[in-house]
C-alpha cells in the first residue's frame, strides 16, 4: 500500500502508453448522478479488473465505453487516439478496437461453432455465392487452436463445456483483427459458471494477456479477479475510489475499498451450536431424478450447506424438498409430521420456501412491480378477505423493502428496474415474509455484488436465529464456509461427506468437493438424468 494515484496523474504519466484512457466522465440519469469524474486507465497487455457494488457506476462506465449510453462530459483515448464522447456509438467503439463479451454470450447454441463465427464475420463465398464450407472449417479450426480450444468446429456450441463456450465467444469477438490493437471487455464472464469452470476460463484469459492481449474484466467474484488481474479500478457511488496498478491486494483490502468498511458479514461467525437442535426436516432414503438415496437432518436454527458441482443434484434435491419434483421413494418428516409435498402449493402450506438458482428464469416477474413480486407468494393468505388488500400489500412491501435494505424508490417500481442484488433481496423477502420453518436457498448470491451479499448473509443468519432451518446449496465454497453451520457434500446424487464448517477451511472444503467425482467414477452407475453431460 503506497501513495495515492490520482486519475490526472495517471494521465500525465504518459497517455501514449495506455491502451485505454477514460478521464473525467460524468453521467446523469434524470436527477441521479451515475458517474462523476470517473476515470479508467488500462495498460496494454494487462488484465484490468473493474470492481464495485451494484449501482456503483461500473456498469454505466462499461456501457459508455460500449456506446450504449452517451456521457455528459469526459475524454477518451484508445491506443493514443482521441475519441469524442459526444456522438460516440457502438460503431465507434468497434472501430476503435473495443470488443465486448457479455455474460449472455450471444452464441447460437444449436448451431456449429464455425457457423457462429461466420454469422458474425460473414461466410466465405465461392464464385456463385455459395458457402465455401471447407474454407470456413479450416479458418475456424485455425482460430480455435490459437485459443487452445481442442474441439471440432463443426460441433454445435451446446456440446461445449461452459468455459469453452465463453472462450468461443471471446475468439469470435477477436477474430479478423490483430488482437494487439484490440481491447477485450469481459462483462461478468464467470457469473453463470461453476467454480472449476471459471477457473479454467480465467486461466485462459490470463494466457491471452501474456500474449499481449489487453483485457478489461468486470466481475463480482473477487477471488477470481484477484487470480487473474494485474490492475484494479474500484467504483463506489459513481466515483473511482481506488486505482491499484500492478498490485496484488488481498480480498479483504479490495472489499474494504469497495464497501468503505463493513465487511464482517462475509466472514464465518464461527458458531456451530445449532447442529444439535430440534430437527426440522428429516429426509431418509430420498430418490428423485439424479438424487439417489439421500438421508440427512436439518435442525431448528441451523444453516445447512449442500456443496456440490454442477450436475451433482443440488438443485434437484431442493426441488424435491419443495414439492416441485415428486420423489420416487424415500420419506420426509417436517417438524415431526410426515411431509410428502405433491406440489409447490403443498410445500408452501407446510411452511417451506425456496429461492431458486436462476433468478431471471425461475423467480422474477420482470415486468411486474416490486409489490406484486412480493405479494405473489401471499395470494391465498390475502384472499381470506375475498378482496385483495391493495393498501396492505403496499404497506407490507414498504416494510419489507426497509427491513431487507432493498434499494428501490417505491413498491410500484418495476422489478426489472432494480440491480441484481436488490432483485435477489426481494426474492428472499418474498419467502421470509411467510416466516417459513424451512427455507431452501439455491445459489443465493449468484450474480450479486459484495455489499448485497453481506446484507443477504445477515438476513439469512437473522432468520436462522429466529428458528428457521435454512438449507443453502451453492457452488461457491467460501460462501458455504462463511454462512453454514454444517455442510453436506453431494456428488452424483449421494451425500459423500458431512463436515462442520468450523472444522474445515475453504480450501479443504473445495478439495473435498472436487475430489468426489473421480472417486465416485469407479462405482459409477448410469442414471436416467445425464445432466452432467457438460462437466
Amino acid at each position: 500500500m503506497a501513495n495515492q494515484e490520482h486519475p490526472a496523474a495517471a494521465a500525465s504519466a504518459g497517455t501514449a502508453a495506455l491502451a485505454l484512457d477514460l478521464r473525467g466522465v460524468d453521467k446523469h440519469f434524470g436527477g441521479t448522478r451515475a458517474l462523476r469524474a470517473a476515470s479508467l486507465a488500462v495498460r496494454p497487455g494487462t488484465v484490468h479488473a473493474l470492481l464495485g457494488g451494484n449501482g456503483s457506476g461500473k456498469s454505466t462506465a462499461i456501457k459508455i465505453l460500449a456506446g450504449v449510453y452517451e456521457a455528459d462530459a469526459g475524454e477518451l483515448s484508445i491506443f493514443g487516439e482521441d475519441h469524442s464522447l459526444s456522438g460516440y456509438t457502438s460503431t465507434t467503439a468497434a472501430a476503435a478496437g473495443l470488443r465486448f463479451v457479455h455474460q449472455d454470450l450471444g452464441l447460437f447454441e444449436d448451431l456449429s461453432i464455425e457457423e457462429n463465427f461466420a454469422l458474425d464475420a460473414g461466410y466465405p463465398r465461392n464464385a456463385v455465392g455459395g458457402v465455401r464450407w471447407r474454407a470456413l472449417h479450416r479458418q475456424v479450426a485455425k482460430v480455435l487452436s490459437e485459443y487452445e480450444l481442442d474441439v471440432d468446429p463443426r460441433r454445435p456450441v451446446q456440446d461445449l463445456r461452459p468455459s469453452d463456450r465463453t472462450m468461443v465467444a471471446i475468439a469470435r469477438a477477436l477474430q479478423g483483427s490483430e488482437s494487439e490493437r484490440l481491447i477485450l471487455v469481459l462483462d461478468e464472464p464467470t457469473a453463470s459458471l461453476a467454480a472449476h469452470e471459471s477457473g479454467l476460463l480465467l486461466e485462459k484469459v490470463r494466457r491471452l494477456a501474456d500474449r499481449g492481449q489487453t483485457v478489461i474484466i468486470v466481475s463480482h467474484r473477487l477471488q477470481e479477479v484477484l487470480s487473474v488481474a494485474h490492475d484494479f479500478t474500484v467504483f463506489r457511488d459513481g466515483r473511482v475510489v481506488g486505482t491499484l496498478v500492478d498490485a496484488s491486494p488481498t480480498e479483504d483490502e479490495l472489499i474494504a475499498i469497495m464497501a468503505g468498511g463493513l465487511t464482517v458479514a462475509l466472514r464465518p461467525t464461527g458458531s456451530a451450536s445449532h447442529t444439535t437442535g430440534r430437527p426440522t426436516l428429516e429426509v431418509s432414503g430420498l430418490v428423485s431424478g439424479p438424487i439417489r438415496n439421500v438421508t440427512f437432518t436439518a435442525h431448528e436454527g441451523e444453516i445447512l450447506g449442500i456443496a456440490g458441482l454442477v450436475g451433482s443434484g443440488r438443485s434437484s434435491l431442493l426441488h424435491a424438498l419443495f414439492g416441485a419434483f415428486v420423489p420416487s421413494t424415500g420419506t420426509m418428516m417436517l417438524g415431526g409430521a410426515p411431509y410428502a409435498p405433491h406440489s409447490v402449493d403443498d410445500a408452501m402450506r407446510a411452511g417451506v420456501g425456496m429461492v431458486p438458482e436462476n433468478r431471471v428464469r425461475e423467480a422474477a416477474f420482470m415486468d411486474r412491480s416490486v409489490r406484486e413480486n412480493l405479494s405473489i407468494a401471499m395470494m391465498m393468505e390475502y384472499w381470506k378477505t375475498k378482496w385483495m388488500p391493495r393498501a396492505r400489500e403496499t404497506r407490507r412491501a414498504e416494510e419489507l423493502i426497509q427491513r431487507f435494505g432493498v434499494k428501490v424508490a417505491d413498491p410500484s417500481a418495476l422489478f426489472s428496474s432494480m440491480s441484481g442484488g436488490n432483485q435477489q433481496k426481494v426474492v428472499i423477502a418474498r419467502w421470509l415474509q411467510r416466516e417459513p420453518r424451512l427455507l431452501l436457498l439455491d445459489e443465493p448470491t449468484q450474480g450479486v455484488d459484495v455489499m448485497s451479499r453481506a446484507d443477504i448473509y445477515a438476513t439469512i443468519r437473522r432468520s436462522a436465529q429466529a428458528g428457521c432451518s435454512v438449507v443453502v446449496a451453492s457452488s461457491d465454497m467460501s460462501e458455504l464456509h462463511a454462512l453454514c453451520d454444517r455442510i453436506l457434500v453431494l456428488a452424483r446424487g449421494r451425500i459423500t461427506q458431512e463436515v462442520l464448517a468450523s472444522d474445515v477451511d475453504v480450501d479443504s472444503l473445495t478439495s473435498l468437493v472436487l475430489r468426489e467425482p473421480s472417486t465416485r467414477r469407479t462405482i459409477y452407475e448410469p442414471t436416467a438424468f445425464e445432466e452432467t453431460r457438460t462437466s
Binding site: 436527477g31 491499484l244 418495476l414
Partner: protein
Amino acid sequence: MTNTAAPPTSTPPAPATESVAVVKRTSPVARIFENYALLILTAAVFLFFTFYPPSSAAFPTINNLNVILGSQAVVATIAIAALFPLISGYFDFSLGATAAMAQVLCAGFMANSGWPIWAAIIVPILIAGVVGVLNGFLVTRLHMSPFVTTLGMAMLLSGVTLWYTGGQTIISGIDPAITRFGSTRFIGLPVVVYIVLALAIVAWYFFTHTPYGRSLYAIGSNAASARLVGVRVDRNVWWSFIVAAVIAGGAGVMQLARMGSATASGGNELLFPALAAVFLGATAITPGFFNVVGTIIGAIFVSISVSGLTLSGASGWAANVFNGLALLVAVGLSTYLGRRKRRG
C-alpha cells in the same frame, strides 16, 4: 509499485439525494395522461362526430347510441373472453368461431329439433365449454402452439357449423322469446348492455381481486417463476381456455338474440373487433398489460369510431379498415409499452 485508494474517510457516504440506484421515472402527469389517453381519445372522437356536420344529425341520438352499445355488446363479451388466455400469455383464435357455432346451434336446436328455449341456450354453451377443454388439453398437455391450435380449431368449428346448417340461414322457428329479450330495453338501454357490464365487473373482480386472476398475470409474466411460487400453471391456463370458450358461447347466444337469425360463419367479424378492443385496452389504465376496464373502453372506442365513419358517409369497408388499423396501432403501442416495462 502499489498505488491505492483514497482512504474511506475522504469519501463520505453519498447523501440520499444523490443515490445511484438509477430508476428512470416518468412524471406523474405524463403517467396519468398515458393511462387515460384512450379514454380521452374516445371522448374526443365522440365529440368530433357529434359536431362534424355530415354525422351530427344522426350520430348523437339516443337511437344511434343504442345501436352502438347493443351491437358492441357481443364484441365486448368476446373481448372479455379473450382476456383470460391472453393475460396468461396464450392466444385463443377460436373464440369467434366458438361464438358463431353457439349462435347457429342455439337457433338450429329450436328451429330444426324443436328444443325448448332453455335447453337450446344451455347445450350450445356447454358444447362451447368442451371446445375450451379441448383447446386447453392440446395446449397445456400436448404443448401444441396455442396460436396454430386455436386457428385450426376455428377452421374446424366453422366447417362443422357450415355442415350443420347446410349453408342455409336459420331464420324461422326460433323462439320469439329470445329475440324479444334481445331488443328489450331497461332504463333506455338494451338489456344485453347490462349483462356485459355485469360480466365486466365480475371479470374485473376476478383479475384484480382473486388469487386465480392474479396468478394468470403471473403466468403471463413468467410461467416458470409462477410455478415456483405455488401457482398451478397448467391447470389455471387450461381453465382460462375453458372460461373463455364458455363466455364466447354465451356471446353467440346473445348475438342470436340481437339478430334473430343465424348463418354459419367463421366468426371473424366478431373476433377481429374484439381483438382490436383487447389490444387497445392494453394501452390504457395499466399500460402494457391487458385489463378489463381498458378493454371495455377499447370496445366503445372502436364502435363509436365505426358508427361515426359510417354515418359520415363511409360505406361497408369502413368497419374492417378501421378495425384493422386500430388492431395494428394497438398491438404496436402495447408491445412498445410492454417492452419498455420489461426493460425498466
